[in-house]
């Protein structure tokens, strides 16, 4: 880690690399985040509606339930687990392949701090982009509920719209943004660590990717538990 956060050789090159990583790891994940979130929001709306068969409970709670579940847990933690698979495996396999094909040795021979050059931009990119993906996920999740809920008759459109605006607590968003920064750091750093320590060939790169994803998922859940206890 000390090597990763040491002073870059050329700041402009690192900045360019960070923007490339934001595009590769972040912007190229927008599609999958949108698709998953729309379905997640739609399914959540149906399940909340299904469990609210008491006539004393107003149907506006369906929108509220969907919104708060997305903000507090689904768009941060579930998205974190999914991104650990997508972004994490990508990082491990990319760095691992560079290791086994001597590209990392090649950087070292040039006098480049390979750990810093390859890992730091990825960590910065994921930490910066993950909170934005979270906000997009909440938006698409609420949109999913808006489409599915009224379409199947689980909730009327005005009730859903009223529900998603009712009793909004901005701190929930702050809490989840903090989680996203932590999850982003975990995803990029654990995946990079496993990639950078690969020895062998293609088989070992595959094994390292799997181990990186499993370890990241476990650490995301553990840190979720700790952060929830500390911050809520």
């Amino acid at each position: 880690m000390l090597k990763v956060f040491s002073r870059p050789e050329r700041h402009s090159l690192y900045a360019r690399q960070t923007f490339n990583e934001i595009e590769n790891l972040g912007l190229k994940s927008v599609g999958i985040v949108a698709i998953i979130s729309v379905f997640m929001g739609g399914i959540m709306t149906l399940q909340v509606a299904y469990n609210m068969n008491n006539p004393l409970l107003p149907t506006t709670l369906i929108g509220l339930g969907n919104r708060d579940s997305l903000i507090l847990e689904f768009s941060s933690t579930i998205m974190g687990l999914i991104m650990a698979g997508k972004i994490g495996a990508n990082i491990t396999s990319e760095i691992g392949s560079m290791k086994v094909t001597e590209q990392i040795d090649s950087l070292e021979i040039m006098g480049v701090n390979s750990a810093s050059y390859l890992i730091l931009p990825k960590i910065l990119a994921v930490v910066l982009i993950f909170p934005l993906l979270f906000i997009l996920s909440v938006f698409f999740g609420i949109l999913g509920g808006l489409i599915v809920g009224p379409a199947v008759g689980a909730v009327s459109l005005p009730d859903y719209l009223q529900g998603i605006q009712f009793n909004f607590n901005p701190y929930y968003v702050t809490f989840s943004l903090i989680k996203c920064v932590v999850f982003g750091f975990l995803i990029a750093s654990i995946a990079a660590f496993f990639g950078y320590s690969v020895e062998g060939g293609a088989f070992d790169v595959g094994t390292a990717s799997t181990r990186a994803v499993v370890n990241t998922n476990i650490l995301i859940l553990v840190s979720d538990l700790i952060l929830t206890q500390l911050l809520l």
Partner: protein, 253 residues
Amino acid sequence: MIKISNIYKSFDHKEVLKNISKEFKKGETNLIIGRSGSGKTVLLKSIVGLLEIDCGSIFYDDRDFTSMNLKLRKKLRQEMGMVFQGGALFDSLSVEANVRFPLDMFSMLSNAEKQKQVDYCLDRVNISDSNKMFPSEISGGMQKRVAIARAIVLNPKYLFCDEPNSGLDPETAILIDELVHQITVDLKITTIINTHDMNSVMEIGDNILFISDGEMCWEGNRKEILSTDNQKLQEFVFANKQYQKLRDDKMNE
């Protein structure tokens, strides 16, 4: 000039290099030869510092590499160029960007000057129309040539090549050998090449070190190699019938 003295290296208590000493001369093509698994690559990687030696010393001219801290080593490495066995070009960068990378990282040249230097190096290795292609789109021989261009773009004082012509057809292998030899002579740099290719040895071997089972067995030049009485070297060199014939012809003369 690179001077190594009494180098030992082991992995998991198994000695891979045992007491190797040698002076690699400037302006000459220095070869490390030996069978596969004899310790050539470990020796080369130890010399450049990719592997830490157990004991011994490595001097780059008058600078003691083994006692240098990381910062000094990084500075010295900017004077090195290395061609890896598989080329080790960056997959995500085009041919031109690969060659330009060390300049972007370390030089203070303007963009136009960098471009001029990149064009010169690519021209030097006879690559001119594949600048925008990616490593996966060019042949193995071209990848090696691009790797050589990248290795020389910062005008290094020391050039290292790990089996530069492995996996190449004989014609391309000779071209690569000649290219490295020419660059060594023209730029007056210290070049060390790892190889087990006898054609390379006979073509460009100015100063040869033969290692077997991690031990230094013989040193000399390409003229002396044919008349050697070293048993292990004879087995290595004359495994090829062509060289047996060459030796017999020489003896008959």
